[in-house]
């Protein structure tokens, strides 16, 4: 009896998956638990494992195909079995369409830290890891070269200095050479396939911006005290354990404390259930820019954690996010989100709410600015915060009270260490 292997639902928000690479060939015997293929979802590249033993009778999908959840990937069964009827049945029963029943799912999934969907013949090393000397790695970073696009001439395909130099020689626009001036003859555009991550960003943010009526609240926070506090804390930490906390860590902590005091902001507008969900915990999502998009790893129970604990967790999550090592579960279920573009010198901006949150905080740069104190102009240090609110769940006064508390906390930062 043939068994269908279908596109599994690997993340909460996944609607389709792209088959990146087959790990087995038609005619191979496979055992339950074997990895048969890799699939790129909206969040990561993951391994698809078989649930049953058998022989791979047919690969229905090809590398590069995008399939909806429940779409037929492959068929396994006994060697030599006739599967023509089975494929016909499968098609006519309509199970090629999304939303499969629990019982039809014949695979399990396992998150893998693999990154780019390269075809097997592009992979220079045997186990998927690109071998390169430390110097070659450093040079590739300096010149913006992707190591897995190069062929190594060292032992076991190791990429070495001369391979990088040859690549630089071959493509003169790399590195310090001036870009060629385009003539009218070679004007054109590059066509880049939209990645699953970008599709997800596009879908979720369009849905958020077009469904939830956004309004924005702005405050300018005096951060002189926060700056001093942070320096003091960092001096102490450096001496004791070599750690360092950022402004952002203090802001995350302040948001968590303020959300406990204003539970009406820490909500989800669940229109389908006809309910507003109020959370008795604060899980703060933090937007992290990565190579080809952004992700929002979540600090669980931020209201129960110290600034130092938050700092360490953010550092670990952000670095793993940049390496695409985050598990899907670490990016889901926030109750509130922050986005910080201060490091780029952005003074203030408005962020699109990250569903299912009701609010998102946009954090601007800390800037030295003249301020008026007791009728005199004196040097000051300020930071602009902008809260985007979903008006279906949060009204102006509710959001404003939250922002007022947040400003108070940040201007009296000792409160954050309590």
């Amino acid at each position: 009896m043939p068994i269908a292997i279908e596109m599994p639902k690997m993340t909460d928000t996944m609607e389709e998956g792209v088959l990146v690479e087959w790990s087995v060939e038609e005619g191979d015997s496979i055992a339950a638990g074997d990895v048969i293929a890799q699939v790129e979802t909206d969040k990561a590249t993951m391994d698809v494992e078989a649930y049953d033993d058998g022989v791979l009778l047919k690969k229905v999908a090809n590398a590069g195909d995008a399939l909806p959840i429940g779409g037929l990937i492959a068929i396994i069964g006994d060697a030599g079995e006739d599967i023509t009827d089975f494929i016909e049945d499968f098609k006519s029963n309509g199970t090629m369409s999304p939303a499969p029943s629990e019982s039809s799912s014949e695979v399990s999934v396992k998150s893998s830290p693999d990154q780019t969907p390269t075809l097997p013949e592009d992979e220079p090393s045997s186990h998927g890891r690109t071998k390169a000397s430390p110097l070659a790695r450093r040079m590739a970073t300096e010149f913006g070269l992707k190591l897995n696009h190069l062929t190594g001439s060292g032992p076991s395909g190791r990429i070495i200095k001369r391979d990088i130099e040859a690549e630089i020689e071959r493509t003169p626009q790399i590195g310090h050479a001036p870009l060629p001036v385009p003539t009218s003859a070679d004007r054109g555009h590059e066509r880049v396939r939209i990645s699953q991550m970008r599709k997800t960003i596009a879908r979720r943010l369009a849905e958020s911006k077009f469904t939830s009526p956004h309004f924005y609240l702005n405050v300018d926070v005096d951060v002189v005290a926060l700056d001093m506090q942070r320096r003091g804390v960092n001096q102490y930490l450096e001496k004791t354990n070599g750690l360092k906390v950022s402004f952002n860590d203090f802001i995350t902590k302040a948001c968590a404390s303020a959300l406990v005091m204003h539970p009406d902001v820490n909500v989800t507008y669940a229109s389908q259930e006809g309910e507003i969900h109020k959370y008795n915990y604060v899980d703060v999502g933090i937007a992290v820019a990565i190579d080809d998009g952004l992700v929002t790893p979540v600090i669980r129970d931020a209201h129960l954690k110290s600034v130092v604990m938050i700092s360490q967790e953010v550092q670990s999550l952000a670095s793993r996010a940049r390496d695409k090592q985050l598990d899907v579960s670490e990016m889901e279920g926030s109750t509130f989100t922050t986005s910080n573009l201060g490091m780029f010198g952005i003074e203030s901006f408005t962020a699109i709410i990250n569903p299912p949150n009701a609010c998102i905080l946009a954090i601007g740069a800390i800037r030295d600015t003249p301020v008026v104190e007791d009728g005199k102009i004196v040097p000051g240090k300020r930071m602009k915060l902008t809260l985007s609110c979903d008006h279906r769940a949060v009204d102006g006064a509710v959001g404003a009270r939250f922002m007022s508390t947040l400003k108070d906390l940040l201007e009296n930062p000792a409160s954050l260490l309590l």
Binding site: S133, P134, L135, A136, R138, S153, P155, I160
Partner: protein, 327 residues
């Protein structure tokens, strides 16, 4: 510049220092009446008399300890071991007393003493007379270790060693005592301890070699030149304190390194150099650090096996081509 044999350069350093400072004396087996087993101290007994050039019984532990006592009491002994193989019976004096008593006495006692003699293989002398000791002595904090490859360095560094207020292990070579080389005529010629010498400059590969291994490194560099590559050869000269700056600067230029060291390979000087290089210049390495050492066995007696056992220029050349990815 005068051309001197290595033994003459060592004697010149001893004589200049003993003329300068009456507290310095030379002691060891056959150093006085017989004018030295390798004629390093030829004529010195006549010049200074038997109170400053002293023959000892065959008792390394005894005269090493005697020297340390004299040093504690303010004299500046130079103790000659007929070879460093014999100094193993004086190990307790050198390791437990010389290296540690300044530390243990909180600086109340120090040892301005030099232990010197030939080190390493010297032909068909078999297992017990062919040991390279630089790895052993350089692992003990409290000892300075110098290993010389030519007459000029021998003179300049031995004078520094005698003037140093801490115990110095000074490693020579039986094979090289007759080697001739230019020696500086400079008045009071001193080479500071802890400075490596870049013997030839190049950008293809860094080769590190001291004592006899330095010459294997130079021969390999010549072979690479005929292939069209210029190797950079560094003679560390002082093993401890080691001149990391010179080595790391060179490795950052060449991106690869071969260490030549006559010691046995396990837990040795070459292990330490390789560790420091990967730790201090990881992102500059294009190939794993390679080393050429004696084989991991006691030294053999048979002539063909001795040749196989020791690092050869051919071995160094092949290791260089390997880290340059040429083969």
């Amino acid at each position: 510049m005068a051309e001197l044999q290595l033994r003459e350069a060592i004697r010149a350093a001893l004589v200049e220092e003993m003329d300068r400072d009456e507290d310095i004396f030379l002691m060891g087996e056959e150093v006085a009446e017989y004018n030295g087993a390798y004629k390093v101290s030829e004529g010195m007994c006549d010049r200074y008399g038997d109170r400053r050039v002293i023959d000892t019984p065959i008792s390394e532990c005894g005269f090493a300890g005697l020297g340390l006592g004299a040093a504690m009491d303010g004299l500046r002994p130079v103790i000659e071991f007929m070879t460093w193989n014999f100094a193993f019976v004086a190990f307790d004096q050198i390791i437990n007393n010389a290296a540690k008593i300044r530390y243990m006495s909180g600086g109340q006692f120090s040892f301005p003493i030099v232990f010197r003699g030939p080190n390493g293989a010297a032909g068909q002398l078999a297992a017990t007379h062919n040991t390279s000791v630089e790895s052993i002595y350089s692992c003990f904090p409290g000892l300075k270790v110098i290993s010389i490859s030519n007459p000029d360095d021998a003179k300049g560094l031995l004078k520094s060693a005698i003037r140093d207020n801490d115990p110095v292990v000074f490693l020579e070579s039986e094979f090289m005592y007759g080697m001739r080389g230019e020696v500086s005529d400079a008045d009071d010629y001193i080479i500071p301890i802890g400075k490596a010498r870049i013997a030839r400059e190049g950008d293809a590969v860094t080769i590190i070699g001291h004592n006899k291994s330095y010459w294997r490194a130079m021969e390999a560099a010549e072979m690479l030149t005929s292939d069209g590559y210029e190797a950079e050869v560094i003679d560390p000269r002082t093993i401890r304190p080691f001149d990391w700056d010179t080595v790391i600067t060179s490795v950052k230029k060449t991106n690869r390194c071969v260490i030549v060291d006559e010691s046995n390979p396990f837990a040795s000087l070459s292990s330490e150099i390789a560790f420091q290089i990967q730790s201090r210049s990881f992102d500059d390495l294009d190939a794993p650090v390679q080393r050429v050492t004696s084989k991991d066995t006691p030294a053999p007696y048979a002539k063909n096996l001795v040749e196989y056992y020791l690092p050869s220029a051919e071995d160094v050349y092949r290791a260089c081509r390997e880290v340059m990815y040429l083969d």
